[in-house]
């Protein structure tokens, strides 16, 4: 299959889906309420002038909050792109051979997935959160260098485009090829996403693919952007703090951003230099990384001298968010604030002393290896301090059920597994065995996925009221959070298991014996993908349709004296913009709980309506049964087309009443039974089946009778045919149950029994 077209189509589908949600949510909002409606400020249609004004505003803004939102939006787009890569990788690994994509495509996918996620997703999103909230947290008016801030962001879109120009050029070329001769666009067709691994090790990265040059340039540009952002954060924190905020009461997230930025300052210029050296090797014949020059190992030293601090560049802001958000939802202040700050500083320093543990298997001097083993194990200490303090913060706390709580607790769990498995990898003999296996993939994904995006999601939920003035759908958020944690654990623990079985990583094919675990990992990855789409939907939908908040303290932070400066800023803003807070409704009743009558019923009262209903509304039941049977016939027909349901079994139905085996006669009987017998049974027995609603009871009823059908109409199917047959039987019966119960409910043929003694029917 053409990877580029599939990827672009998937990306387009997500974007179109988002636009549809926006359009639908806006349309719903524009409709007046039945009680006369309320004036909204978004009803006017967006004209060309408005679009132009918005474009100018968003491309020229120097406001830290708007730039923060731009960063977050950019990072989200990159995450979707990199996420699609990930889904395609997992799809490829469904089969042991390289069937769905080719080996080349697989290599391209894991190369660009890694780079997109590390460089264009995580750092921009954290810089976005920092841009928006850091000045609010420290009482600054804006970032220290607002224009530089804007430049820092606007370097990123072109850098992403350069880095991923291969796919853009390929798709453009494929589209143009329809109308333009191939010779004219051979330049476009020469581009191909690099398949060299995200670490870009020479000599593979010296292979003559022109796109690799653009990738290196794009990465270099993003490094410049990141450095600019880091300089801005450091200056802002040092010079723009409010007078009341000193180093001792600087909030923990700002501390983490400060240390992160310090690491960036030392790490990224080195990456930029190394990238330029590689570019020179590729294009100008230098030999920095050729065997006759510095050698490929030099690249590894330089890359990992940036690469391992980079791990902490993307990890520390996540821990900062954890330390900031977790206390708010457990009602206790962060335990051991000072020690968490010290541990952050320690990680910042130690992060530059561990790079060579990535190179234990390259044959570096044993004494060097031993020293790097020691520092690599040592860096676990400050990380563990954080974990212990988070757990202690929760200890005896008033833990509240909310999406951020689930994400925080889930993150701690996943990080512990990811971190402990990392300590094993720091030990030379273990690393030598497991370095080239899925164990490493599982380990670093438990951290990269297990805590970093999870904390981003937690932050998005925690600050959503502040960002939008509305509350997100909290049920969906709780559900989505659980899915994300479960999906991450399932996927990456399975990869760990594959690693323990010593399956080598990076290969497009694998022995068939591993396919079971690979399928489990893929299912887990799809669960992650689905949960991410749910989050996207929640964020967009709630922006237009979420319930407006009525207080600047949606998380009851004042009760635990954790009403931090950004919320105080929000409270001032709400007061200035909205004035008097909206009034409270007198009472609240969930709209999804059916109202029930008050008259309690006796046993007779419970049975009598059933008898009366059966007697008086037999016609309604028959109508429902007839409709249900027709709908069911459609589902069974699909099964016939697929060859898993034999019509002969319907034909032989006629022999039960002494008629010859005939399809028309059999179907006639089938229709009569579905119209008369089964609805009557439903009306009689439905009262004793679970479900407050007729429709739910109908589903239960259909499920029960499906088992009899499955046995009665079984015609010797085996294997997958049997599975499909059973699936269709259940599905057809559910359709029947819904058709039957839906018709009865709409025509009023069946009255509900009082299930709790507090409701009933006349």
């Amino acid at each position: 299959m053409n990877r580029a077209l599939v990827e672009v189509s998937l990306f387009g589908a997500v974007i179109v889906g988002c636009l549809l949600v926006v359009g639908f949510a806006q349309r719903l909002r524009a409709e007046p309420s039945p009680d006369g409606g309320y004036a909204t400020d978004r009803e006017r249609r967006l004209g060309l002038g408005d679009a132009k004004a918005a474009a100018v505003r968003w491309t020229t803004t120097t406001n830290h909050r708007e730039i923060g939102l731009l960063y977050i939006a950019f990072g989200t787009v990159a995450a979707i792109w990199g996420g699609i890569d990930a889904m395609m990788i997992r799809t490829h690994l469904l089969t042991p051979e390289a069937n769905l994509w080719t080996e080349q495509t697989y290599n391209e996918l894991f190369t660009m997935h890694g780079l997109t996620m590390l460089i264009f997703f995580v750092t921009p999103v954290f810089f976005g959160i920092g841009n928006y909230f850091l000045p609010l947290l420290i009482g600054a008016d804006d970032m220290a260098f607002p224009r530089l801030n804007a430049i820092g962001f606007w370097l990123l879109p072109p850098s992403l485009l350069l880095a991923r120009l291969g796919i853009v050029a390929e798709v453009t070329g494929a589209v143009l090829a329809v109308i333009v001769p191939n010779d004219w666009i051979s330049v476009l067709l020469a581009f191909q996403e690099p398949a060299i691994g995200w670490t870009m090790y020479p000599p593979l990265s010296l292979a003559p693919n022109p796109q690799t040059n653009f990738l290196l340039l794009g990465l270099h540009l993003s490094g410049i952007a990141t450095t600019i952002g880091a300089i801005n954060f450091i200056t802002t924190i040092i010079y723009e703090r409010d007078e009341s905020i000193g180093w001792a009461n600087l909030d923990i997230f700002s501390w983490n951003m400060l240390i992160t930025s310090a690491i960036v300052i030392f790490a990224f210029p080195l990456l930029g230099t190394a990238l330029l050296m590689l570019l020179f090797d590729r294009n100008f014949g230098t030999t920095f990384f050729a065997v006759e020059g510095g050698g490929p190992i030099l690249w590894q030293h330089l890359l990992w001298f940036w690469g391992h601090p980079e791990v902490y560049i993307i990890f520390l802001p996540a821990t900062g968010l954890m330390s900031l958000i977790l206390p708010k939802f457990v009602g206790r202040k962060l335990f051991g604030f000072k020690f968490i700050v010290y541990s952050t500083i320690a990680i910042g320093v130690l992060s530059f002393g561990v790079w060579a543990h990535h190179m234990f298997v390259t044959g570096v001097d044993p004494r060097v290896r031993a020293s790097f083993m020691a520092t690599s194990i040592a860096i676990a200490v400050p990380s563990a301090i954080k974990v212990f303090n988070w757990i202690t913060t929760m200890w005896n706390g008033d833990v509240r059920l909310a999406a951020p709580t689930i994400l925080c607790v889930g993150s701690i769990g996943l990080f512990i597994v990811g971190g402990v498995t990392g300590i094993f990898l720091a030990v030379i003999p273990v690393d030598v065995i497991y370095h080239g296996t899925y164990y490493v993939v599982g380990h670093f994904h438990l951290i990269l996925m297990g805590i970093i995006p999870l904390m981003m999601f937690a932050a998005s939920y925690y600050w959503y009221p502040l960002l939008t003035g509305r509350m997100y759908d909290r049920r969906l958020a709780i559900f989505q959070s659980v899915l994300l944690v479960v999906g991450s654990a399932l996927t990456f623990m399975t990869l760990m298991a594959l690693g323990f079985l010593e399956l080598p990583r990076r290969y497009a094919t694998y022995p068939a014996g591993f396919s079971g675990l690979q399928i489990v990992a893929t299912v887990g990855a799809f669960i992650i993908g689905i949960s991410v789409l749910m989050w996207l939907y929640n964020m967009i939908w709630s922006y237009f349709q979420g319930t407006p908040i009525e207080t600047a303290d949606p998380w009851e932070l004042k009760a635990t004296e954790q009403f931090t400066p950004e919320w105080q800023w929000f409270e001032d803003r709400l007061e200035r913009k909205r004035g008097v807070p909206p009034s409270e409704p007198d009472s609240v009743r969930p709209s999804y709980v059916p109202a029930q009558d008050e008259r309690p019923l006796s046993i007779y009262g419970r049975i009598e309506p059933v008898a009366r209903t059966v007697a008086s509304d037999a016609g309604v039941g028959a109508t429902g049964g007839f409709i249900g049977t027709l709908l069911m016939s459609g589902a069974l027909l699909a099964a016939v087309v697929l060859g898993v349901f034999d019509l002969e079994s319907i034909a032989t139905l006629a022999t039960l009443v002494g008629l010859p085996s005939n399809l028309a006669l059999g179907y006639g009987l089938f229709l009569i039974a579905g119209t008369a017998v089964w609805p009557l049974l439903f009306l009689s027995l439905g009262e004793y089946l679970p479900g407050e609603l007729t429709l739910v009871t109908g589903l239960w009823y259909a499920t029960v009778i499906a088992s009899g059908f499955a046995i009665g109409f079984y015609t010797g199917q085996t294997g997958l045919e049997l599975v499909t047959y059973l699936l269709f039987v259940v599905l057809a019966h559910w359709i029947y149950g819904l058709g039957l119960a839906g018709t009865i409910a709409s025509l009023g043929g069946r009255q509900r029994r009082p299930s709790t003694g507090e409701g009933g029917n006349e």
């Binding site: 909204t40 939102l69 960002l467 407006p548």
Partner: protein
């Protein structure tokens, strides 16, 4: 998205917060089974149905669209390797099958240096290992880069996966569907009472 765009309160929705703080997401009268368990089961079904449908569906289309069976080769000028290693086998161009020859020409002309062997692959073993072929005065390192093998699974996986996805979607949508159902029956009952 910014707080500058202050939304107007919508009186038709329950408040997310009140004076005492956030309104709990799950009320006591709510069925946890239908609010969380059913959608969770639904997501599991979708996540399991997707690979089934993809693999089953691919089997159906792979032959008709010609997605498998034709290996692809690359041809890289030997000059770029600074002289060929002596261990690499030399393959005379005359021994190439017509399909291999066509693929070699396609690869030489292609900006990506790739070609597809559409026909008999007589020198499969040699090309899998990689061989040096002298063609029209130039020497190329020719190698199979992808065998494009055909997937062999039961096509029935597709309908099974599709059904799992559909049922899963129904599971995910259970909470709103249940609310709609409740509203529907509520209205019906009210109408009858009136």
């Amino acid at each position: 998205m910014s707080s500058g765009d202050d939304p107007s309160p919508d009186a038709t929705q329950p408040p997310a917060t009140d004076e005492t703080g956030p309104v709990e997401p799950t009320t006591g009268s709510e069925s946890l089974l239908l609010t969380y368990a059913a959608p969770f089961l639904g997501v599991l079904l979708i996540a399991a149905g997707l690979p089934l449908a993809i693999v089953g569906g691919y089997v159906v289309i792979q032959d008709s669209v010609g997605l498998c069976g034709d290996p692809s080769i690359t041809a890289t000028p030997v000059d770029e390797y600074d002289g060929a290693p002596e261990t690499v086998e030399e393959l005379p161009a005359s021994e190439l099958s017509p399909a291999e020859r066509r693929a070699l020409e396609e690869a030489i002309d292609s900006p990506l240096r790739e070609g597809t062997v559409d026909g008999d692959l007589a020198n499969r073993a040699a090309l899998l290992e990689g061989a040096i072929v002298e063609y029209e005065g130039n020497r190329y390192y020719v190698q199979i880069t992808s065998q494009n093998s055909c997937l062999d699974v039961e096509p029935l996986l597709f309908p099974i996966g599709a059904i799992a996805i559909l049922v899963g979607i129904a599971g995910v949508l259970t909470p709103p569907i249940y609310r709609k159902m409740a509203g529907f029956e509520e209205r019906m009952r009210r109408d009858r009472t009136d």
